[in-house]
Amino acid sequence: MIRIDTVTKRYPDGTVAVDRLSLEIPDRSITVLVGPSGCGKTTTLRMINRMVEPSEGSILLDGVDIREQPVNSLRRSMGYVIQNAGLFQHRTIVDNIATVPRLLGWGRQKSRARAVELMERVGLDSALAKRYPYQLSGGQQQRVGVARALAADPPVLLMDEPFSAVDPVVRKGLQDELLRLQEELGKTIVFVTHDIDEAIKLGTTVAVLRAGGRLAQYAPPAELLTAPADAFVEDFLGTDRGIRRLSFFGTAGLELKTSPIVAVDATAEEAAARPGGDVHYLLVTDRDGRPLGWSEPAALTAGAVDAGRLLPHGRPFEYGVESLRAALDCAVLSPTGWAVAVDGTGRAVGVVSQQTIGEAIRTAHAEGRRTEAGADARTGDDAGSAAGTDAKVAG
């Protein structure tokens, strides 16, 4: 655990970058420091590996003041990843990654073998080992940066806006990769970003800092979105925090309708036999059950389904895996207002209306509020979830 204990950083010109900040950074989790520029997030990170020395207060690593050990041995025990990767352009990829092992006195062979192993771990082709940084794309360079930080297997990883210089598609790939790596490695990661979406996606806990280096809120992402501490945090989260919060609710409880699904080779009678009810469209699938598109029932009664005249079904969501946010997005984008749920293999397992999703959201919010209301109010839980189930059935 890293304990930041009432730390202040004041520069000689009087600017206060960090103001009496206290944080407890738990092991094996991603703690994100987020805030507008000038909020002291990078300064805070750099105080952990003593790139910046605090003016007041102390930082403890597993209960020991970080000033107790020589500065370079402290830094070698913490991986350090920065924006633009900061690779050594005169060294090959494998030698870049082997930097810290070499500093720790490992042999050349052992360091290189470890470097090649890490290249695979971060998703880099080992054929790139002998290349130089200029021969790699920005995303690849950043992967090398992460591999270099992990080379000596440090327990702590400090990441200073590591993904902010790459394009959004590459950034998403790197973020997913980091989450996957973290699941495998379980490092204590401190991650600095100015991007609140990145903070919410990656953070186990998120520390929102405000200008002048004061802590505005320190909470898990879902709590941040539900209950922003004040107007500053609320403003920083942006106008669509309600929508974003849906990312934390699953779709497993969503009630699906299967009756409007009809195979492309169904006869007119079979199609006509589908109950209309509140669904005014039928979802036509191919013979394997993969969605092809929406059709008006009237168009089907004439005979065989004309696959060429279907309305597009839009992007489907994976039932039980993707969040309510994805389901709602699908429903909003669908020309019929109904979202298509598929299983892992892409087969349609049902359709769900915006209305049903809306009710699931209300239920989820109600459950969320109850959980916040207090851990001792456990007795009410059963009744609550029963009510929630009723609501879903009614939809």
């Binding site: 830094r75 070698r76 924006q83 633009n84 900061g86 352009q89 005169h90 500093l103 130089y132």
Partner: protein, 222 residues
């Protein structure tokens, strides 16, 4: 009466290839003076340039010293040193070193300052000490520019080392000074040609040194 005729006459005269005043001997002297001056200038200029560039301090003072050094006339300095110190190598070395230090010092400083700060920050953050940062991170990247500073210093030294002949020392300047005195233009042009060829060879040597010493990652990227 054309220059090529003089060149041809000078180099085809067999007597110019032997003895203490022969081409091999004068060339060897010239190279010796030049190497000594370049070595002394590098010993002064490189460490100062590397350290000031690394710590980012003293840039203004350096610019001042460099300008002053460039403003000093080499020939005037030679005469002054000769009067003060008398005959010998030292009066020759002083103007040559004063001539060569500014380009080495200034380009080395600039080369170190122009190194991308983010790998340097990464290096410190990974636990490299200052000397490792300087020699393993900054220097390899700054090397092409540093070599270009040494190269222009070397070229200036080679062309200016001819003045050694004015104070009775050897080198290729001997041909030029003696030729002018004896009104032997064959000798003057021959000596000047040798200096020019030596300068071109030096360019080649620096090019080869760059190929050998600079990492392919820097050569391409920088």
């Amino acid at each position: 009466m054309n220059v090529l005729h003089f060149v041809n006459a000078f180099f085809s005269d067999g007597s110019h290839w032997h003895g203490y005043d022969g081409i091999p001997a004068r060339l060897a002297e010239h190279i010796r003076y030049s190497l000594l001056a370049l070595g002394l200038a590098a010993v002064v200029g490189l460490p100062v340039g590397l350290l000031t560039g690394h710590y980012g301090r003293g840039g203004n003072a350096l610019a001042l010293i460099a300008t002053a050094g460039r403003a000093l006339p080499s020939f005037g300095l030679l005469v002054l040193m000769f009067i003060l110190l008398g005959f010998g190598m030292v009066p020759v070395m002083v103007p040559l070193v004063v001539l060569a230090v500014p380009p080495i010092l200034v380009t080395t400083y600039e080369a170190m300052r122009s190194v991308d700060p983010s790998p340097v920050d990464a290096a410190r953050g990974m636990g490299m000490g200052e000397s490792r940062v300087l020699f393993q991170v900054e220097l390899p990247v700054a090397l092409p520019l540093i070599l270009s500073g040494l190269r222009s210093a070397a070229i200036q030294i080679i062309s200016t080392a001819t003045i050694a002949a004015y104070v009775s020392l050897g080198g290729l300047g001997r041909y030029i000074v003696d030729g002018l005195y004896q009104l032997d233009y064959e000798k003057v042009v021959g000596g000047a040609t040798l200096v020019a060829v030596l300068a071109l060879v030096t360019l080649g040597v620096f090019w080869a040194a760059g190929r050998f010493a600079v990492s392919p990652g820097v050569r391409r990227g920088g």
